[in-house]
Symmetry: C2
């Protein structure tokens, strides 16, 4: 059986035809994306923080300075955060202004973050994070030390309350407008990793890194 992530909070109201709730599809979009936007509040004010993320199994992880607001605030005062991550896939040009849109893959997650404090588990997660960003790189790095581990705050939420919205199609105009004489269609957005820029202070040549499979 496929696990559904739908709950009253994550149920899509506007554009429900674009909604999906299965965990596997959410995992795929999460893994193909490098960054998310974490929404939380402090003293009644909402904050949105762009942050890199990764996933292991049913858990979604992010990190920051142990004392940063985007790490400490939802722990000091337990709160259900809302996180969105999305990929912009193209621009949808319709025959009428209102039916213009964008193609996208988008995931919204809800959960009360949990702070990971166990040193071994933290290091295990940092390696998973690095493997997402550049597979195989961890073992070539200067080993991590205790000061760095302590300085880093690590949070996770379980992926169990979430929604997916995907748009991947040509414009959908009012049928009466289909013959309107203007170009209509999709302008796809392309993303790729460009030529490596080695640190100018590095003079030796080393094996080049593998870029990630995520953007």
């Amino acid at each position: 059986m496929r696990q559904s992530l739908e709950t009253p909070l994550s149920k899509v109201k506007r554009g429900p035809n674009r909604a999906q709730y299965d965990a596997e599809t959410a995992f795929r979009i999460i893994d193909n994306t490098l960054m998310c936007h974490v929404g939380q509040s402090k003293n009644g004010q909402v904050f949105v923080t762009p942050t890199c993320h990764w996933r292991e199994g049913e858990y979604f992880y992010w990190h920051g300075h142990a004392k940063a607001r985007n790490i400490k605030a939802p722990i000091d005062d337990a709160e259900k955060v809302c996180i969105n991550l999305c990929q912009l896939d193209g621009l949808v040009l319709a025959r009428s202004a209102m039916h213009h849109s964008v193609n996208y893959r988008s995931v919204t997650l809800f959960g009360v973050p949990e702070l990971i404090e166990d040193t071994e588990e933290k290091v295990r997660q940092f390696k998973i994070f690095l493997d997402k960003v550049s597979p195989g790189r961890w073992d070539a790095l200067r080993p991590i030390n205790d000061i760095e581990i302590k300085a880093t705050g690590l949070l996770r939420i379980k992926i169990e309350e979430a929604s997916i919205k995907v748009r991947a199609e040509p414009p959908v105009d009012d049928p009466d407008d289909n013959d309107w004489p203007v170009w209509a269609g999709v302008v796809p957005l392309q993303q790729q990793w460009g030529p490596l820029e080695q640190d100018p202070i590095q003079t030796e040549l080393f094996d080049t890194p593998t870029p990630p499979d995520a953007f």
Copy 2:
């Protein structure tokens, strides 16, 4: 004199060396970016909604269905929303795990949204929005009508409380690690508009649209 957007709320605490507060720089990043993440709350729950935006002068605009939560909630119950928009420019690969990072241009805005209800002003803004997305296209479209104007909710905030964070440099490792034998540097992210995909139900050839200068 340059206008500063710094306030106690928008003052960057972590990584203040990467902070800027001048309006012109914020305008440039806003104009070069197609989408933002709007953070607001309803009944005590934070929501983060990916949304397209545009700018005219000192005002930042977004739209949605007049009854959508991301339009109605901050109006029904006036609230200072937090909006972030950012461009991921590259992956920063350091010699130690902890100094890995990303290059980026990021703007965070705060403001209490204002609902624009005047029909003429709404249409004027929709044209500005379309000119951002595809310059010169508005006049070729099937003209907008009253039902569409009424169905669309238009919000704006004044750009007066905001912060910019930019990272655009090679890795910054601990000086002791600079000779560590592993490739270090930046993997730049490239974005471009791909070949146009005309709506398959359209059989005639028309002048092709101009893609936007924003991603």
